[in-house]
Amino acid sequence: MAWDAPVARRATSLAFTGLTLAAVLGVAGLVFLGQFGVPTPLVDGGYWALGVLLAALIVLGAHHYREAANLAIVSGLSGVTRVVPGAFILALAGAIFSWGHDGLAFGIGLGAGCLLLQLIIAPRMAQAGATSLAELVAVRFPGRMTRVTCAAVIALSMLALLVAELMAAGLIGARVLGIGYAAATAVAGVAVLACFALRGLRSSAWTNGALVPLLLIALGLPLVILSAVWYGVPIPQIAYANALWQVQGVEEMLLEQDLADPAFMRPMLTPFVALTPTNFLGIVLGLAAGAAVVPAVLGLSPAAQRSTRSARSAALWTLAFVVLLLTLFPVAAAYAKLSLATLVADRTPVAELPAWVFTYGQLGLLQICERAATDVESVIAACAALPDGGGALALHDVAIDPDAVLLAMPEMTGLSRGAFGLLAVAGLAVVLTTALGPLGAAVRTLLGDGRTRDAAASASRAPFAVGLALAALFVAIAVAVASRHPAGIVEVATWALTATAAGLFPTLFAALWWRRATTAGAIAGMLAGLAVALVYLVGTQQFPVHFYEAQEVISGSGATGDEYFAQLKEAWLEAEPGEAQVLAWAALDAHARSAASLWGIGNLAAALLGLPAGIFALIAVSLLTRAGSASTESEPLSPQRVNLGA
């Protein structure tokens, strides 16, 4: 054997510790420079450069010491960045901040996905000897049509995930570079492409795990400090119980003092205010199935391929780190919420609002009195223009973009600039490196790489320029979509995982566990699942009016009985062409978007429709085509079969 486990373990822990220390020292150096008169924009630009440098180091490091990737803990750490995309890491705290209890659905879903990966995906894939979903599907369901369908579904769903990652990178870029969000997204796209060129097509992503300790420090350390200082308990997961009760107390006080509008308030502890129970469970289902499939799409780590036992241990490490990470986001959300609510409860005059309010206001991420809070004068003018304006700020007057909450948390809670810098650096490095996963998977699958080991070898001899050109095309499309900011980061990331789940989970599950599944069934499952999920996601989001009018055919409820909709439509039809018609359409579109849903299922919970559609199509077509199917399709999986297939 070329490596020795204890030596590899020592070398890897040294390398990971070194990288974490380097990042912390780098941030400390920048903070130091800031205190000695270096302008803040330069220091912030330094954070961006440090984040990109870290990502580049991670990518370059993956070319060396690949033996270390065989260690279960290293494999488990890199699994964290496969199961929880960087976009979620940035946006989860914001989701809990703005949705209260209902925002916890995302964390539960990702955790459940991790458990599914450990229980039914990773060990069984190791048993089958498959390294990725594309390879497994190509061997288990042979045929050109399956390969093409699988490649198309993977490319589409990974593109959606790339959009979410670029949105997150764009947000951090906009904050630290002080440039517009669209420009920051494009710059992030270039950085991702550069990292892709450095990594190459088939290089391992095992070093991504090195970012997890850094991320835990960047996220956990501020929370430990706040917990210790505020409540005397240095364990955030325990201490924030106090913050929750305080938030509830402040919220009740604000309601009594008319400083909060009950129509807009989403109390932190009250369930099912932002989501119905059905939609809550739909999100959990979609993220669970999606997060379980994505690592298989991206390709399992070497440790996960060695044996079922090794795959199980690696997935267990992943689960442990994911649970640790996910339990920190509700704490960050509670502390941020408490800080903001206290700011309002203290009746802070506009002139004395903290600087972070205007920093995020200038980026368009924070509004006060319905206008971006760019400076004190504009806030005073905006509030005076409101019908009941002029008095103290109310909680509903201050609207911070949920995506920005985690980044703003250190400043909101009064921590030093270093805490923000470390979070920005770690967040950027994580988002950039995790963006490479979906990009690489999409390019590889379109090149026909990864289907089987031999094909992979031949494809990797194909000119790298072709892969790079494809990657550039993907990044360009993703940047174009991301810069339009189609919705919040957490929404886009959830849609991406939902599409992945609906398109690929039934087929992956059947390939691993159901002998009677046939090639035709697999194709039908992938197409039906993805089609239903996409029609629902795109229909309710992009064409709500048409969707609302059409939904009566399926669900029995729709536009016909909706008098308000009829009025708005009439107003639009009768409006003069020009601005009046545009405004009338906007009103109609907004109403239809709020009402367009089948059986009350919101588009974040589209897995409730897409997954059953995929499962039903797979089972029905498999049973119907069973008699005519090739005998190889019904054989159980075994390493021999896979290797023979290759």
């Binding site: 209890h101 916890l104 659905a105 964390g107 539960i108 879903g109 955790g111 459940a112 991790c114 458990l115 599914l116 450990q118 229980l119 039914i120 060990p123 048993q127 997961q237 325990i238 119980a241 106090n242 929750l244 009760w245 932190m268 502890l269 369930p271 099912f272 129970p277 809550f280 469970l281 959990v284 289902l285 669970a288 079922t308 036992r309 199980r312 241990s313 997935a315 267990l316 689960l319 442990a320 649970v323 996910l326 339990t327 509700p330 566990w513 054989e635 159980p636 075994s638 021999q640």
Partner: protein
């Protein structure tokens, strides 16, 4: 199903023996996971009436308890399967 593959070495045979026994879905673990993920969130409101570690219990479960439950299921399931595989390998 009759195995028509060529004769295997002892090591491969033992490995396949272990693998052959391990083809069943981990139904109990999956059911426990599904209960935590889908049933517990439905009962947040009544659970919130109880305080645990100073938390309203329903919120605690949604924020941490369910995730810790997943981890527990993962650990128990991994130990159980690893032990069974080890036993099967010894037997064959």
């Amino acid at each position: 199903m009759p195995d028509q593959s060529p004769p295997e070495s002892d090591a491969v045979g033992r490995e396949r023996g272990a693998r052959g026994r391990q083809v069943r879905l981990p139904i109990v673990a999956l059911a426990a996971g599904a209960f935590l993920a889908f049933a517990v969130p439905r009962f947040v409101q009544p659970l919130n009436l109880v305080d645990v570690l100073a938390f309203p219990f329903g919120y605690y479960m949604a924020a941490q308890g369910i995730l810790l439950g997943f981890l527990t299921i993962g650990i128990i399931s991994a130990r159980w399967h690893n032990r069974r595989e080890g036993r099967d390998t010894k037997v064959s």
